[in-house]
């Protein structure tokens, strides 16, 4: 169950395996190296490759396949045991209003708890394996060790947990056997290979290339991981909750006793409204800054103003969140709220959190994003284009407005789309500055909530992966991912086409 966890702190099967395999691999390095040297009569000129390559070959051959199998085993075992145990839970063990998934998470927690009390010596392994739910108050025993269970333990659950434990330990045993066998076999083979004629360098380089390819494919794996993890849980969500309500409903009202209204539309509205305000702030300021910096400013102004503006991009979003909540929000309340005491003498705004608060601050954050992207793009417009216009007697600003900007337009649109995708996915500013009320309203002084805010609130604190109220976060995440991915793909495509045009 928690092999990887235990493995990392050492002492368990996986951790021990890693140390053993690495030790064997180091041993292989020195033995293969000296064996190769010996077979070359002690003169390295008789060898096909440099002596170290023989060592590396042995080390690599010993460690990589064994560790690879270990990692795959650790990833696959929980899934296989889960599905095996999942099937054995009888329908009778599933209480009213509960689900198989909920019971399964109880099983896992119980199995973990039993492992913990055995490890701490509260109970010996023998008696832990033969517990009877009716005679022992397991919940109390476990609670004393800091393992909290949701309800009293029932016999079927206990049986499932015991099965879980036996299968886990069987799995661990076979894993140890298999990994040791592979490592030993590879160790012996690699030593036998270490002779003068062996093309060690070529083999090692092929191995390194394979590792390089593996590293490059982690990017793909990450994307696949993102999509799969969210897709699976989203499918679970749509089993529990109607998709029509999610996509077309009008209310967001999660209720942890069930029967919630979980519609994305009010959240999407809040997200888009805030993003639009942010872009209304960032695009004019960012674009005009970029125009000034690339077209008018001398090298001195440019080298001072550009990095200063880019500081805004390097400031963490949590800082902007705090700025929104504690500075901009109250300032806006002073202007639009407070009735007679306020600056405008109006009572339009009640709290510091609002669409305008979050939008303004997010706009500030996006200024350098828009300006540096646009700056690059404007600089890519060939000077010949400007000369052509200036040579006809156009003023500098006419040249910019009528020639440079139209020429740069596709790139600028791409930059704005990238900024929009940033705005839609931004979390901390809206968590602190936008508020938590899901509604569709046109008033920018009201608090509204966004997709990212709801993901945070549904997934922090106690999460129960069997309830639609938790799972909805994955459906929201997937929607957000698809939305931003779409924007990014379009934007990056436009920008790339634009650059190719002037290359």
């Amino acid at each position: 169950m928690s092999e990887l966890f235990n493995g990392l702190i050492g002492g368990s099967a996986a951790g021990l395996m890693v140390i053993v395999v690495l030790g064997l691999s180091a041993l292989g390095f020195y033995m293969a190296r000296s064996r190769a040297m010996a077979s070359g009569g002690g003169d390295r000129r008789n060898l096909h490759s440099l002596p170290n390559y023989y060592g590396w070959n042995a080390a690599m051959l010993t460690a990589v396949p064994a560790l690879g199998v270990l990692v795959i085993w650790l990833l696959a075992q929980p899934m296989m045991i889960d599905s095996a145990v999942f099937k054995t839970i009888p329908d009778s063990a599933i209480a009213e209003g509960s689900s198989r998934g909920l019971v399964m998470s109880d099983v896992r927690r119980l199995a973990d708890g039993l492992d913990v009390i055995v490890e701490r010596g509260v109970m010996d392994a023998e008696s832990a394996a033969t517990l009877d739910a009716n005679t022992t108050d397991l919940r109390a025993t476990l609670a004393a060790e800091g393992v909290a269970l949701g309800s009293a333990v029932e016999q079927p659950v206990l049986d499932a947990a015991q099965m879980y434990r036996t299968q886990s330990s069987t799995g661990r045993f076979w894993m140890t056997v298999l990994v040791s066998a592979i490592a030993l076999l590879a160790f012996v083979v690699s030593l036998r290979l270490a002779t003068a004629d062996f093309r060690a360098r070529n083999v090692v380089e092929k191995g390194i290339l394979a590792l390089l390819i593996l590293s490059a494919s982690i990017a793909i794996l990450t994307t696949v991981g993102i999509v799969l993890s969210m897709l699976f849980e989203s499918i679970n969500f749509f089993r529990l909750h109607s998709w029509t309500d999610f996509f077309f409903g009008s209310t967001w009202a999660p209720n942890f006793r069930g029967d919630s209204d979980l519609s994305i539309l009010p959240l999407l509205w809040g997200t888009l409204y805030i993003s639009i305000i942010a872009l209304l702030v960032a695009v004019p300021i960012g674009l005009f800054s970029a125009i000034y910096l690339s077209e008018y400013a001398g090298p001195k102004v440019r080298s001072a103003a550009k990095p200063l503006l880019e500081i805004l991009a390097g400031i963490p979003t949590i800082v902007y969140g705090l700025f929104a909540l504690l500075t901009v929000g109250p300032a806006l309340v002073n202007i639009f709220g407070r009735g007679e005491q306020g600056l405008l003498g109006v009572e339009w705004m009640s709290g510091a959190t609002s669409v305008l608060t979050a939008g303004l601050v997010m706009g500030i954050m996006l200024i350098p994003f828009v300006s540096s992207l646009s700056d690059d793009i404007i600089n890519a417009v060939p000077q010949a284009m400007r000369d052509g216009s200036l040579g006809l007697g156009a003023t500098h600003s006419e040249t910019i407005r009528q020639v440079v900007i139209p020429a740069a337009l596709p790139g600028i649109v791409g930059a704005i789309l990238l900024a929009a995708s940033r705005a839609i996915g931004e979390t901390m500013i809206v968590v602190l500055g936008a508020g938590a009320i899901a509604k569709i309203s046109a008033n920018p002084l009201e608090a509204m909530t966004t997709i990212t805010t709801r993901i945070v609130s549904q997934l922090t604190g106690d999460t129960n992966f069997a309830s639609p109220e938790t799972l909805v976060a994955f459906a929201l995440g997937l929607t957000l991912f698809v939305l931003t991915l779409g924007l990014n793909v379009i934007a990056l495509y436009i920008v790339r086409k634009y650059r190719e045009q002037y290359d």
Partner: protein, 447 residues
């Protein structure tokens, strides 16, 4: 072409005087230029406002109000048996220590000759709620001091601290149950006597977070360690993987659709919202692999995946900047392609790679949203981790998550700490970026 002689040439007036149209156009030019200056000015103004805000509201967190008190560690109360047995002494809870504080306050008032018009309990009430615990920890660590008079520096309560910093006034506490106007009068007298003072507060930088009731005791230290261990994970994983991936893509990858997909993928991953990586971490690392929640290891893994695209993109740029002639030279003397890359190209690209990595790390250091999903919120660890294993696996927070936690607590005393935390965070970011800039200036060559 035949009709071109027929038209009359346009007559241009003198150049020495701008005509009306030119004057209008020049005015438009000036306006346009002004918009540009205005835009930059607005952007810079925002930066100034932001930084001014942070500094003016955050520096307060680095000083704290302390009360210096001589406390008589009465043996009757702390060690009834008198044999200094630690186990027995531990039975006296913090409640048992509270009377000593009241007594110390009364003593002090008598000694200095102040007129004590408020009760001893009210006098002790200006101290932090953590004061008895501080006393108890001291006694348990130095049992031989029992029976003696020892001088202590106690934290004042957050209201008193706020009074010292101008956050709290007699008007603002009208409905406040934690402090009264009489207590503030008492505080004024203590200030006169030099017993109550604002001092530099090291424990804000080194200490752990504290509960809602004791904002005066909360510190960033443990969260800082959490961030440190996360950055360690990111550095150990993201740097080698990122460099390996870049070498493959830049030097070895064939130009085919698989490479194209990987490249498009990387540039898209760089633009995926950070919270999505948090969801990935929750679903894969915690829910599926059962790694411990709130552990810096998991935070580090999530941030690694998030930082990888940044590192790959900058590493590829620095590899690209090494001219092909270097590769040709190595290949020309019979090195293999792999040797030419590892012996020649990589060392030359190293400064650029390092710069990109530091900037990636800085970005990861300030990231908050994914940490919230994997449970790295505030007030989790009350003690610093005691080793690398517990540093990686024991539940902890991180600097930005700690700031978020304080911002959520809706108490001006915690707001001050949130701004103070931001100063610490920004100092780290500034240092990292400065190092990156220096590295770039000193080592990066232009080919």
């Amino acid at each position: 072409m035949t009709d071109m002689t027929s038209d009359t040439p346009h007559v241009h007036g003198t150049l020495l005087q701008a005509d009306a149209r030119t004057r209008k156009r020049n005015a438009a030019e000036t306006r346009f230029k002004f918009y540009g200056i205005l835009a930059i000015a607005v952007g810079l103004l925002m930066l100034v406002i932001l930084l001014f805000n942070i500094v003016s509201r955050g520096t307060g967190a680095f000083t704290q109000t302390f009360v210096t008190l001589d406390v008589a560690l009465v043996e009757d109360k702390l060690d009834k048996s008198g044999n200094r047995n630690i186990e027995e002494m531990k039975k006296v809870s913090t409640f048992g220590y509270a009377p000593l504080l009241k007594a110390a306050m009364t003593d002090m008032v008598e000694k200095t000759g102040m007129e004590g018009q408020i009760s001893a309990a009210d006098m002790a009430g200006i101290l932090s709620k953590g004061a008895p615990a501080q006393l108890r920890d001291y006694v348990l660590a130095n049992p031989d001091k029992v029976g003696q008079q020892v001088s202590f520096n106690f934290l004042a309560s957050s209201r008193v601290d706020g009074y010292m910093k101008g956050r709290v006034s007699r008007e603002s506490i009208a409905n406040d149950k934690s402090i009264s106007a009489e207590q503030l009068d008492f505080v004024d007298k203590l200030i006169e006597q030099g017993i109550l003072k604002k001092k530099f507060n090291l424990s804000f930088i080194t200490g752990a977070d504290a509960s809602d009731a004791r904002p005066e005791a909360a510190g960033m230290g443990v969260a800082m360690l959490g961030s440190f261990f996360m950055m360690l994970v990111v550095l150990v994983l993201a740097l080698p993987i990122g460099v390996a991936a870049s070498i493959y893509l830049e030097e070895f990858a064939p130009k085919n659709w698989i490479t194209d997909i990987i490249e498009v993928n990387i540039s898209n991953l760089a633009a995926v919202p950070s919270i999505v990586f948090g969801i990935l971490g929750l679903a894969v690392f915690i829910n599926y692999m059962h790694l411990p929640t709130s552990a810096p290891l998991v935070g580090g893994l999530v941030l690694t995946l998030m930082t990888l695209p940044t590192i790959i993109i900058s590493t590829r740029a620095s590899l690209k900047a090494v001219p092909p002639s270097i590769r040709d030279a190595a290949l020309g003397v019979g090195a293999s392609k792999m040797q030419s890359v590892f012996h020649h190209v990589l060392p030359l690209a190293a400064p650029g790679i390092l710069t990109g990595t530091i900037i990636g790390l800085a970005q990861a250091l300030g990231e908050t949203a994914p940490l919230l999903l994997i449970g790295m919120v505030g007030f989790i660890a009350s003690n610093p981790p005691d080793g690398i294993a517990s540093g990686l696996l024991a539940p902890n927070s991180a600097m930005p998550a700690q700031i978020y936690e304080w911002a959520k607590r809706a108490d001006p005393a915690f707001y001050e700490r949130a701004w103070g935390g931001i100063i610490i965070l920004l100092v780290f970011l500034l240092a990292m970026n400065t190092i990156a800039v220096i590295l770039r200036r000193r080592f990066e060559r232009r080919w």
